[in-house]
Assembly symmetry: C2
Amino acid sequence: VASPEAAFIALLRGAATEPAARGLMDDAAVLEVGGRSLVLTKDLLVEGVHYRSDDPAEDVAWKLLAVNLSDLAAKGARPVGVLLGFMLGGEAWDREFTEGLNNGLAAFGVPLLGGDTVAAAGPRVLSLTAVGEAPGPVPSRAGAGVGHDLWVSGTIGDAAAGLAMLEGRTPPDEALIRRYRAPRPRLEAGVAIAPLVSAMMDVSDGLLIDAARMGHASGVGVAIGLDQVPLSQAYLAAVGDDRAGRLRAAAGGDDYELLFAAPREAAPELLAASDRLGLPFTRIGRFEEGAGLTLSDREGPVPLPQRLGWEHGRG
Amino acid sequence: VASPEAAFIALLRGAATEPAARGLMDDAAVLEVGGRSLVLTKDLLVEGVHYRSDDPAEDVAWKLLAVNLSDLAAKGARPVGVLLGFMLGGEAWDREFTEGLNNGLAAFGVPLLGGDTVAAAGPRVLSLTAVGEAPGPVPSRAGAGVGHDLWVSGTIGDAAAGLAMLEGRTPPDEALIRRYRAPRPRLEAGVAIAPLVSAMMDVSDGLLIDAARMGHASGVGVAIGLDQVPLSQAYLAAVGDDRAGRLRAAAGGDDYELLFAAPREAAPELLAASDRLGLPFTRIGRFEEGAGLTLSDREGPVPLPQRLGWEHGRG
């Protein structure tokens, strides 16, 4: 993808010499320290880009935390602490933000370690760095092999449907709006299945674009059954189950579900973990020889939509 | 200091439960991992606040890196890697930025581990998280005791004089402008003296405000001899040696020198380290019973200026 972001990252790749950087191809850096695997990730949220100006400050704080913890989850890491980069704005907004952040930190059992606060004009830019520790192997994006299955946790498309509602495009449904504003990182699941998967990442920019990236990083093609993509009852009620509705879910983004590849033999253990966690895992596709993403449903091949997801990262 | 920043940090302090957070009072977090001390710091630079819109992109990148490494230096830590939070802007500016960052990373021997890139309008907000490892003790701000001396490395005021030149207030001097645009973190010195000091921080917001903060965190008063504050020949030539000129240096900020407290017995070893490093250390004051900052020069007590430095952090 020759986006401005990709071009910028390419210019920096020469400085990413450490194995920990994983060539800047992964969602997190992995630092081996004293025999332990530390996982570091840093995601920015920009007002008007990654969240709406009228989103409640509490939700923005929660989301900033959740999108970073979701990256840790996808690397099989438990959070150890976070550092906050905050742009001061109005007093009331700032106070609500701290309430949301404190709630989130308490909910996930994560301490705030430090950070920086600045006063500035312009759209708010919020930055969080999350530090985690992986008790086991740290899956990258790049390990999917030919014949491995592609799986996803939970349901897809809910957050995008919620966003469409906030934009006044469709009638509101509170549950879908909560999926957009207050995502739940799959921390417990990430740690549980990290030893079973061959590649893992979270779905932030959109299922299709993120699956294509996993295939690209792994040097294999990926075929997704659009009719296999798990949709919630709320999504089906709001958007419907036709091909257009399924494509909207699969390109929507902001899902913060786990997307992972695994050899077929891992299926029994994955399903056992799913039962234990009370979190559905759905097999939605398979990796194959070649390159690129192909889609199909019960009626046959499905042409790729023009837009597979967000290009500049949604967290 | 009841600034908006201080009020915001107070609201977050309840979540900073981990000893690593040091109560959000210090410049960095210290995480003990597998018997090793990791030091984490995160500083933001905002266009128009922490750097000038006409500062060359290469210098902005260098400065973003340097101000964060300076925090590591003050904690006696060697850099292990950095994560970048970048807001895309113009293609040429972005490319120059990567050149400056790559130069800085190479100069300090630090790898880029990862980060995040976003596209957004408004003033640029740049964020860096630096990870370091301290081979020995990690000095906090809070360890200065009554009778300890206050020391500073290098010279003070050069960067503020350079900034005044860029703002057209005084005729330009290239060396002073370089001190503003391209500070040198005192990494080698920080690691060398960390075992000798009782408290250490870097001078970013201004010598006076930073020394007052060290005294406050340590629960002691601090008395500074304004005439002892080390000034460069270039500063003296540009600004002069009168009381007003010395106060301007001491409240100027952006120095990124080491400010440290040490018991008197440590003086011989500190001076030996200074010789070895080729970096002057100057004793500029002393900690005493009580609270607050007092200033004097050869003529007697000096009233504190209204402004002791920058309130919102300069990096």
